[in-house]
């Protein structure tokens, strides 16, 4: 993975930069010992690593502002970081950068059930946001599989989704306001505990901008009352096509489950071996979850059963207890872990129009054979967000490159059928160079101009999202 050549002047000035940072931050907030900064050299795209100049861990918005103002003045690139779980290399440092980590900003600032929001410091983990309101019967809806670890700041930067976003939407649909510090150190309040924007929708623009427009330090998030109950069903089919047809029929029937998850045979086998969830040994498996009162769930599942039966399932299993529900979800939730046990894997994230599902799965299988690498599929079928997992052996020469080539082919396929490169993980460094497959130069230029407005010197996470060739003149000038 190509990264811009580090600025030799900045590398040579490391000691001075660190000393200046120590003037505006408490001592323990500036880390420059390489043994300690090593922990920040990569995110979950761990094949790529790079040590930064230093890491800063501020505790307040004022400290973030002071350090950004200084780094702006010194012309030092800054890589914002939440929990470092990005699968796209979004929080991977560059050698001449300072990593600004939000890990110490994890407090709850305000909970307000009357107005249905919670305000938190943005370094707080996703799951602990729900944790703060759960005992009162509320929850924060976006639920990425990484929710135990990932931070709200990373969720906002990537506009992360989760299994339940079919009903509740992704981060951007649940974000009401943000405190953001610009690269120049200016503190902005955008949105708040009310709906929609007074002027241009800057909140919508910031969400999903991958840490390139500003550093988010606080967030106002929508919270929802917990439904009375939820129940999953598991449906097994003898082919991907049939499972795909069943998904389309469920949606056409006017039922909107909170989640429709899909796993194919390689994935089912691997998770079975890993966690023994008791899944049927079949080609394709759906997990469909419905919410509401007991009677409401019965009504919805009754309709789903009818539809599923028309397609002659290998198995239709309805959870009769909380324990059975947990077992139905167990395999899905351990899918990534299971794949990690048997192999190295690369997780893709393209989205396709749901009606293209059978075709795309068939094509992926052909590509997998051409490349000689196995691909397992586990994804959010209701919204067409696929997660093909390419299995490879990182220790075998050439496999990493082969795997990346196959990944690129699959993502191009997603774009060809009318979809996109990434549904929830973001572009980062990983898909940077594929952007011109999806966008024409004018489309990208419009996005670059947005960054020009927020960060004219191109210091915030500058080597991400866009093909390096397109941004070079902006980064070096």
């Amino acid at each position: 993975m190509q990264m811009p050549r580090p600025d030799a002047g900045l590398l040579a000035n490391k000691a001075q930069i660190v000393a200046r940072l120590r003037e505006v931050l408490p001592r323990d907030a500036v880390i420059d010992d390489p043994a300690e900064t090593r922990a920040y050299e990569c995110d979950a795209l761990s094949a790529y690593r790079c040590q930064p100049l230093a890491v800063i861990l501020p505790r307040t918005t004022a400290e973030v502002s002071a350090s950004l103002k200084l780094l702006h003045e010194l012309g030092v690139p800054v890589v914002p970081r939440g929990a470092g779980t990005s699968l796209a290399g979004g929080s991977m440092p560059q050698a001449d950068s300072v990593v600004l980590g939000l890990a110490r900003m994890n407090g709850v600032l305000e909970t307000d059930y009357d107005n249905r929001f919670i305000r938190v410091q943005a370094g707080r983990t996703n799951l602990s946001v729900t944790g703060a309101v759960e005992s009162d019967g509320w929850f924060y809806a976006p639920d990425p599989s990484s929710q135990l670890a990932c931070a709200i700041s990373g969720n906002i930067a990537m506009n992360s989704g989760g299994a339940h976003c079919l009903k509740y939407g992704v981060t951007t649909n649940n974000l009401l306001g943000a405190t953001m510090v610009t690269m120049q150190g200016e503190v902005l309040e955008i949105g708040g505990a009310y709906l929609d924007s007074a002027g241009l929708d800057l909140l919508g623009l910031i969400c999903g901008s991958e840490g390139q427009l500003g550093v988010v330090t606080e967030a106002t998030l929508k919270i929802l009352p917990k439904p009375e109950g939820a129940r999953p069903v598991l449906i097994g089919y003898s082919s991907n096509e049939i499972a795909g047809a069943c998904v389309a029929d469920i949606i056409r029937a006017g039922i909107l489950p909170v989640a429709i998850e899909f796993m194919d045979r390689p994935c089912i086998r691997a998770t079975e071996a890993f966690c023994h969830a008791g899944y049927p040994d079949c080609e394709a498996l759906l997990i469909v979850e419905c919410e509401g009162s007991k009677a409401e769930i019965d009504e919805q599942i009754g309709m789903i059963r009818q539809i599923a039966m028309r397609h002659d399932p290998v198995e239709f299993r309805e959870a009769a207890s909380a324990d059975e529900a947990a077992r139905i979800w167990l395999g899905r939730k351990s899918a990534f872990g299971a794949m990690g046990q048997i192999n190295d894997y690369m997780c893709l994230d393209g989205t396709i129009p749901v009606n293209e599902l059978p075709f795309v799965l068939r094509r992926i299988e052909e590509l997998s054979q051409d490349y000689g690498l196995d691909v397992a599929n586990v994804f959010h079928a209701g919204d067409g967000n696929m997660h093909p997992l390419i299995l490879y052996n990182a220790n075998e020469a050439g496999q990493q490159e082969l795997c990346e080539q196959l990944g690129a082919e699959i993502l191009k396929l997603c774009v060809e059928v009318g979809g996109c490169l990434t549904g929830e993980h973001g572009v980062g460094i990983e898909k940077r160079d594929l952007m011109s497959v999806q966008f024409a130069p004018a489309d990208l230029e419009a996005q670059l101009r947005v960054k020009d407005v927020f960060d004219p010197k191109w210091l915030l996470n500058p080597a991400k999202v866009f093909p390096l060739g397109m941004t070079e003149s902006r980064r070096v000038s």
Binding site: L195, P225, E228, I251, D383, V427, A442
Partner: protein
């Protein structure tokens, strides 16, 4: 000037020598309208996949045509956009592009999000005359910056929409409304109780002559169950009843502001923190309607009133929908205003697209 294709639109913008007043159906004449009229008549549904819950449509397509096509498949736009032509005295056919440019969202906003939340893709012509696309036709997409959100609610000041794409919802087969006999000033607490319940409320407002209203939608048995639960939950706030047959009309009236049609005065729209609603409407006086659990206040005030001064202090923003005073849109804090101005300068360097519309 009327354009019927994206190519014509791009040419019209490129060759413009002065300000353009971008319009769809002209039914939302909010803000300063100056310049040569540029009517976007790029019409037609280019893609509708009911099984994928997505639609792509020309920006000049009448809203009514979009809604009819969806209804034929038992689906709908999640955000329930209102028609303001009657109340704003601007009759005509609302277009879907106008809905997006104004980010128009009706009562279901509290459950299904705003217009911008359903908008999954746009094509537009910026002030340079360049055609730009963003987003696409799939429900989940984080590829690059989200310019679709930026375009929604930008009132044609950053670019002229040529095509918009939405994610859709199945239309609910049944609905019911729980009506609580309450004055406007007492409504918000009851609405908050309803919205804080697990009964999946899809509308919460206050309508003159009716009272506080709470809507549930879905499968018949479920609607019945939730309406009854809500009626007993809300009983402590006032006398309650469940409206079945009349439910649809209540929400259409609130959505389209029907009770205000034909009445004189300035019409203001305030989006605020819901719990502030009671104090704000007490300070405002005038005739009000409430939506979004009290978070959206529609108020008719005597001509020339400054709702911002009357309502203060409030967290949120006020827009003058009909009437004449200095600022139609809520003035932004300086650093935010600077970013907005910077974006306008980038997207429309000549300042020809609806100049001053959002002041």
């Amino acid at each position: 000037m009327k354009v019927e294709s994206e190519a014509q639109l791009a040419e019209a913008v490129r060759e413009a020598t002065g300000p353009l007043m971008v319009r769809g159906g002209g039914t939302r004449p909010v803000g300063r309208c100056v310049g040569e009229a540029l009517e976007v008549a790029i019409s037609g549904i280019s893609l509708y996949e009911p099984g994928a819950l997505t639609m792509v449509v020309g920006a000049g397509t009448p809203l009514a045509e979009v809604e009819a096509a969806l209804a034929a498949e038992g689906q709908r736009l999640p955000f329930e956009p209102g028609q303001w032509g009657a109340v704003l005295g601007a009759p005509g056919q609302s277009t879907i592009g106008g809905v997006v440019a104004a980010n128009v969202s009706g009562p279901r906003r509290v459950q299904a999000g705003a217009c911008r939340d359903s908008l999954i893709g746009v094509r537009f012509v910026d002030g340079r005359g360049d055609v730009i696309k963003n987003g696409g036709r799939v429900m989940k997409n984080v590829t690059g910056y989200d310019l679709a959100k930026l375009m929604a609610g930008s009132w044609g000041t950053l670019g002229v929409l040529s095509e918009v794409a939405f994610k859709l919802l199945p239309a609910a087969p049944t609905q019911a409304t729980v009506v609580v006999d309450l004055p406007a000033g007492a409504a918000q607490v009851a609405l908050a109780a309803a919205l804080g319940s697990p009964f999946d409320v899809s509308g919460a407002g206050w309508v003159p002559g009716v009272g506080a209203v709470v809507r549930v939608e879905g499968l018949a048995q479920s609607v019945q169950y939730r309406a009854e639960k809500l009626a007993s939950l809300l009983a402590p706030f006032g006398e309650t009843r469940i409206e079945q047959d009349g439910s649809g009309a209540i929400w259409a009236n609130l959505r389209d502001l029907t009770p205000f049609v034909g009445k004189t005065g300035d019409l203001w729209r305030l989006s605020v923190k819901p719990s502030e609603a009671a104090d704000i409407i007490a300070r405002l006086g005038g005739e009000v309607m409430l939506d979004w659990g009290g978070g959206l206040i529609w108020v008719l005030l005597p001509e020339g009133s400054d709702a911002r001064a009357l309502a203060a202090p409030y967290s949120g923003h006020a827009t003058l929908m009909r009437g004449v005073t200095a600022a139609v849109f809520e003035p932004e804090p300086a650093p935010v205003a600077a970013l907005s101005a910077g974006l306008r300068a980038q997207f429309d360097p000549r300042g020809i697209l609806n100049p001053g519309r959002m002041l």
